[in-house]
Amino acid sequence: MGEMVLLGLRLLVHDKRRLFAMSASIAVGVVIMFVQLGLLEGILDAQAIVARLVRGDLMVMNQARVDLQHWDTMDPYEVAQIAAAPGVAKVTPVYEDHVGLTDPDGNNIRRIIVFAFPPDADSLPLDLGDPKKVSAALEGADGFLYDVRSRPIYGQIRPGMNINIDRNPLPVLGLVRMGPDIINDGNIFMSEGEWLSRRPWAHPIMAVVRLAPGASIDKVRKAIVEQTPGDVAVYTPAQAREREIASTLKSSPIGLIFGVGVIAGMVIGAINGYQVLYTEVSDHLTQLATLKAIGFADRFLHGAIMAQALALSGTGFIVGVLVALGLDAYVATATRLPIHIDPRTAAFVCAANLVTCALAGGLALRRVGAADPASLY
């Protein structure tokens, strides 16, 4: 067993340039899989980013708000009803709407999403950085915080600038990081007071609930539903995120598009692997024929080829990860989507690459039959 593996590895490493070329060939499939999965996860993550950033135990929303892209609001008195439910320590209303931001570079009015909430440091509903700094900025003066991960259409916005929001100048109090999604291009954040002074009749789009110490999530959820008129839905942030991902996959063909891309990556990985191993076996036919002539069984030679296939899956994966890291970073910067390689994706791609290389190795074994000891003479 050990000799088989050793032979396979020695055949591979004796020409390092060739090994790199073969690894790069295998890496093509790996890169495709990483890019496709990265884009899919990036889009899904962006659509559910509000749920990921919530600082609280429960999110309460209008039942009609079947996903976070819907604009169904709650009645403001329901926030007070939720606060009165047993087990609720704190409830924070969050307002969401869109406004026209005039970009300072081109003077064009661009639609941007505005989030507003009471700027209390202890109960900020969204994780936008240091709560004390965010709270101090919003409490101190009229103005707004700008999401620096917004798409470039809004121009270069810096703290201290006066930017027209719905044609009225408003100072930029600071910068935070959130990021756009596929539908919305950017975000700004205001205090509840600032927002209600502009839209006095605004209703909250959700309420973020913090539980009292020791309170049971299920009991509080039930209490909130009982306390309100029955038109709200209560989720944990994790549930809201899962619901958003499921809703995005259901309402758009992105799962199909990127799923086809991943399968194509696997097919291309297998084909490239086969080509590489076929060439490797073809180039060593004389050596393999010599081994046969001195009595090594086909099984031994097959083992050596399979060892090469598995070793190449490892080196191809490493090269693929390095390329994908660079490519993902580039795509993330260009699209402003949270594209990255997470361990789960890496494990999936590694396993898929291993399977495709093993399959390619299996197919290339047929070529070993062409190694004929008689041809040596």
Binding site: S25, I32, R111, V260, I268, I271, N272, Y274, S282, T335
Partner: protein
């Protein structure tokens, strides 16, 4: 030794200039005397292709794998090109249903579904410039309607239209106008998604506590704005949406014959108050498409996917050619030894590249045609395989094959007849 074509069809020199089964276009003596042509002429093509095909088919399993790889990459490329083309048409489809030269929109306008409006008086101001033959008001808003009798809710884009006059190009929308004059009526988009509820004639929905019956259909299918769409008259639109009846979302302008759109655009812009933008039809369509393909990440994602697909296809062709040439250096040396010129030698490489790449294109087109037809049925995007896209794919495939051949084929120069001895 790997099997090679020369073993099965040994080249035999004959006074007529035949080498084995293949007739060379130039007498062998010409090339040995130093008359070298680099590129094959048409008459050289047959032996080149014959040798290329025979060489490739010598290892059928590997050929199938290579062609499959090229097919997968070209299939992906075809899907992406078709999606981009179809989506690009779809984003301006409503505008394509109208005949106009200039558009007036609020200055916050980014795409058709913008929420700002402007006073209809802008149309009268435009008329006063003297450049304008006629004007037309469009209203657009997204709202929630209640499906009767289930009380389920659907989201729909409501489009308010004026009397068609000479503006409406789409027959279904022209036919909708007399139907819409019946009270409490709307005309639904046949391509609405399920979430909008039933849209067949006779279906009833409730908007703003008013029950409306669908009495006709038109075709739009802009699923990226809302689940459904419906037409109403502009006189009914404000009542249903709560909008100011004096306002419109978009103003369409038709110019007098002979008036330059750019001059008219400048004249109208100068006459209008602030808060409005004036664009020619081509500027509007360009802006609309730019929003989806430049501002949104869709365009970038598609571009990068297309580049990756092309690279994969190219790398696979390159790999096959490279291996083929490396494995057959002996045979190439024999061909050189018996006097074959570069036309034949390079022509074989180029032909192999063409066979592998176009061999992959054929199944990619067939598979793509099937998948795109299914996508067309599901999304109502015009993704059917059209001739311009087929020609574009042929062009890309030819470039990939030529590029791969250009990179690899000169390695044949290393084939040395002296090495045979």
């Amino acid at each position: 030794m790997p099997p090679f074509i020369a073993r099965r069809r040994p080249p035999v020199e004959s006074p007529s200039g035949d080498v084995g089964a293949y007739r060379l276009s130039e007498p062998l003596a010409d090339s040995s005397a130093g008359t070298r042509r680099t590129w094959p002429l048409l008459r050289d093509l047959k032996p080149c292709v014959s040798v290329a095909v025979a060489n490739l088919f010598d290892q059928r399993a590997r050929l199938i794998a290579a062609v499959s790889g090229v097919a997968v990459s070209l299939f992906l490329l075809l899907l992406q090109i078709s999606f981009v083309t179809a989506f690009s048409q779809k984003v301006t489809e409503l505008y394509d249903d109208f005949d106009f030269d200039i558009v007036i929109v609020p200055d916050s306008y980014q795409i058709m579904l913008s929420f700002d409006t402007m006073n209809r008086i802008v149309l009268d101001i435009a008329r006063a410039t003297g450049d304008v033959a006629d004007t037309y008001g469009l209203n657009v808003d997204v709202l929630r309607w209640k499906i009767v009798p289930t009380d389920a809710e659907g989201r729909s884009m409501l489009i308010g239209i004026d009397a068609p006059a000479g503006f409406v190009r789409d027959k279904a929308i022209r036919d909708a106008w007399p139907v819409l004059r019946t009270p409490h009526t709307l005309v639904s988009d046949r391509y609405s998604q399920k979430g909008a509820g039933p849209v067949t004639p006779g279906s009833v929905v409730e908007i703003n506590d008013e029950r409306l019956t669908m009495r006709g259909q038109f075709k739009l299918g802009q699923f990226f704005y809302s689940e459904g769409a419906a037409l109403v008259r502009n006189v009914d639109f404000p009542r249903l949406t709560g909008r100011d009846p004096r306002n419109i979302s978009i103003g369409l302008v038709k110019l007098n014959p002979g008036v330059s759109p750019e001059k008219a655009r400048e004249d109208i812009a100068a006459a209008l108050p602030s808060g409005t933008r004036v664009l020619t039809k081509s500027q509007l369509e360009k802006q609309e498409r730019a929003y989806f393909f430049s501002t949104k990440p869709i365009g970038f994602i598609m571009d990068i996917s297309m580049i990756i697909s092309c690279l994969i296809g190219g790398v696979i062709i390159l790999q096959v050619l490279s291996t083929e040439i490396a494995n057959r250096m002996g045979e190439y040396a024999v061909l050189k030894a018996i006097g074959a010129g570069p036309a034949l030698i390079y022509g074989i490489g180029l032909s192999q590249a063409a066979v592998v790449s176009f061999g992959g294109l054929a199944p990619a087109l067939v598979l793509g045609w099937l998948v795109l037809a299914v996508v067309q049925m599901g999304t109502h995007l015009n993704t059917g395989l059209a001739l311009p896209i087929v020609l574009e794919m042929c062009g890309i495939t030819a470039v990939l094959a030529a590029a791969a051949a250009a990179i690899v084929v000169r390695r044949v120069d290393r084939a040395d007849p002296a090495s045979l001895y």
